[in-house]
Point group: C2
Chain length 342, copies 2
């Protein structure tokens, strides 16, 4: 049962009990210096006794500040909440941790890029700033949120397809190069790429560019796997293996642009009796935990999600405070595991 019937205790109740003005209660509770220590103690005590807590709604109306951040997680129409890439859930967790550390609440909404979007949390005074994460080929969705940013609101993106001023993204190019170099170091000589080509998303494009460049520095040319454009990433990864095995039997190393592609690939390699990493070494990208559950465990370019969460939160807060917006790269590092360790 809720307490809806009962009157909640207000600052006036404390003032009345103490025989002082309500404004003094407010000052005492907000750490104003214009309150005697003795008075502050009395107020604090009374507040505890009466079980008082500030009505944030009223405070927010008055201060025009919500101390709340909105996080929008974009997902595909054909993806249910349980099918969202675990990478984004982890990122969500990290954003939550950072927001809490900075004293902000976090409003979360999952938005299907096929349906209506909402991002004007600032207009309706539900949040001071907005963080947009999630994957989507759907340009419209990104455009919608970019429009909000262009309107002058505090918005920060993770991995948007645009080179926005306020976007946080992994150091994709470096990561792609690390993957290539690692495969070369493991003795691979014919190395393939699994991922959409041409890479629709800016993130993937950078990963591919770094990968291809590192290969060409060693005189190697990347092979590209073909696979259908529809289906889940895992299914696409599996299909890519079928293509490689059929059309490029000499491939001995693979860089998958995302762990989910890699996991699908790994399963298909397993099913087809290919020895990993013996016959085929594989490196993914993201560092999702499920990579540890795959067989063999997945080597990957891990994104530092803790940092990513901090950066996203710090950058929106900076935008809220009207400081100069900026973009930044999240550091990545190579996690060598079973799928490539020879």
């Amino acid at each position: 049962m809720s307490r809806s019937g009962q009157r909640r205790v207000t600052a006036y109740d404390i003032a009345y009990k103490l025989g002082i003005a309500q404004s003094t209660v407010s000052r005492a509770l907000n750490g104003s210096k214009n309150v005697s220590p003795a008075m502050r103690q009395r107020v604090l005590l009374a507040a505890k006794e009466l079980n008082y807590s500030v009505n944030q709604t009223a405070a927010r109306l008055r201060t025009k500040s919500t101390r709340t951040l909105a996080l929008v997680v974009l997902h595909r129409p054909d993806e249910g909440p349980t099918e969202i890439n675990p990478f984004y859930f982890s990122l969500l967790g990290c954003v939550g941790a950072s927001a809490a550390a900075r004293g902000y609440d976090l409003l979360v909404s999952f938005q299907d890029v096929g349906g209506p979007m909402f991002g004007y949390y600032e207009d309706s005074r539900q949040a001071d700033g907005l963080i947009v994460i999630g994957s989507s080929q759907n340009e419209d969705a990104w455009r919608y949120f970019k429009g909000i940013a262009d309107d002058g609101y505090a918005v920060v993106f993770f991995g948007s397809p645009y080179a926005t001023e306020t976007a946080i993204r992994a150091d994709n190019r470096t990561g792609g190069a690390m993957a290539a170099q690692h495969l070369i170091d493991q003795g691979c000589r014919k190395i393939a790429y699994i991922g959409p080509l041409p890479p629709a998303q800016q993130q993937f494009e950078a990963r591919y560019a770094g990968f291809a460049e590192a290969l060409s520095n060693q005189g190697l040319i990347p092979v590209s796997a073909r696979f259908p454009a529809d289906g889940s990433k895992e299914e696409q990864g599996a299909a890519a293996i079928d293509d490689l095995l059929a059309n490029h039997p000499d491939v001995d190393g693979i860089f998958a642009v995302t762990d989910l592609f890699a996991i699908g690939a790994l399963q298909r390699l397993q099913a087809r009796g290919i020895d990993v990493p013996g016959q085929m070494a594989l490196v993914g990208f993201d560092g999702i935990r499920a990579g540890l559950y795959a067989y063999p465990t997945l080597t990957t370019i891990e994104q530092d999600l803790g940092r990513a969460g901090e950066m996203l939160v710090d950058h929106v807060i900076a935008a809220i405070d009207d400081r100069t917006p900026s973009s930044a790269f999240v550091p990545v590092n190579l996690q060598i595991r079973g799928s490539s360790r020879r």
Copy 2:
């Protein structure tokens, strides 16, 4: 840059532009029947032109309703945001979807059961109700939130250790029995249980009870795996395999109380060269997506998380509306996959 410098458009601006009273604007926007269709159109149009949206802070102060739900995800002190059981992230996603479908916003916070907790969102008028999910052996954390519920606030738990009136939980007993029956059907005759014993959490207790009962109905007695109390669930699952192989070499089927135990067990079985499902069949519980990435893929008792999300949201809303609180069971179903299909 944020818009903090600019004055936002209010209902008064619309009223002024139209030469009407602000209260009429409010009525028109809130679908009051005491507004002529013509007037409503004018207001709607003007609102669109001026790019107006209702200041929710003010509306909430007046109506004493936030249309917001708070979701607290409990996690262990040694667990970072990226290490939280993916099950809870999926549940979070489902709660988010249901909340949105009911017209509620969702405030999310991750709380470390070792640190200070916060759940008085209702007192501070940040949310109308509270949903608590997450795993924890830490009684203190649960007790804290139970205290809030006992204070008469709208709180609903998922899988709390208490038999609270307002708790949603999987049909654990049935699920445990299904797992046992399935293993028997697959021809297993010496079946082990991997999970904490005695099961500290009420959820696990019910799963074990259903499992053990189904076995005894067939004249079978469950074997229990021993493992250290610390470490991750995956590590514990692996350690349990070591124990079984050493002390109960005749075991040919395993029920792991949680998928993460099962995945750890699967990896250790793999590493020790045991054929799964040939020599050893394995069934988990939860239905996390990572079970599909394991090798072989994990048979599991899947919880219907979509329903769980709906039930949690509907039950808090019911509590908010002062309707009688109640608890309910989330349906489970057996997902037969590689780890048990013989």
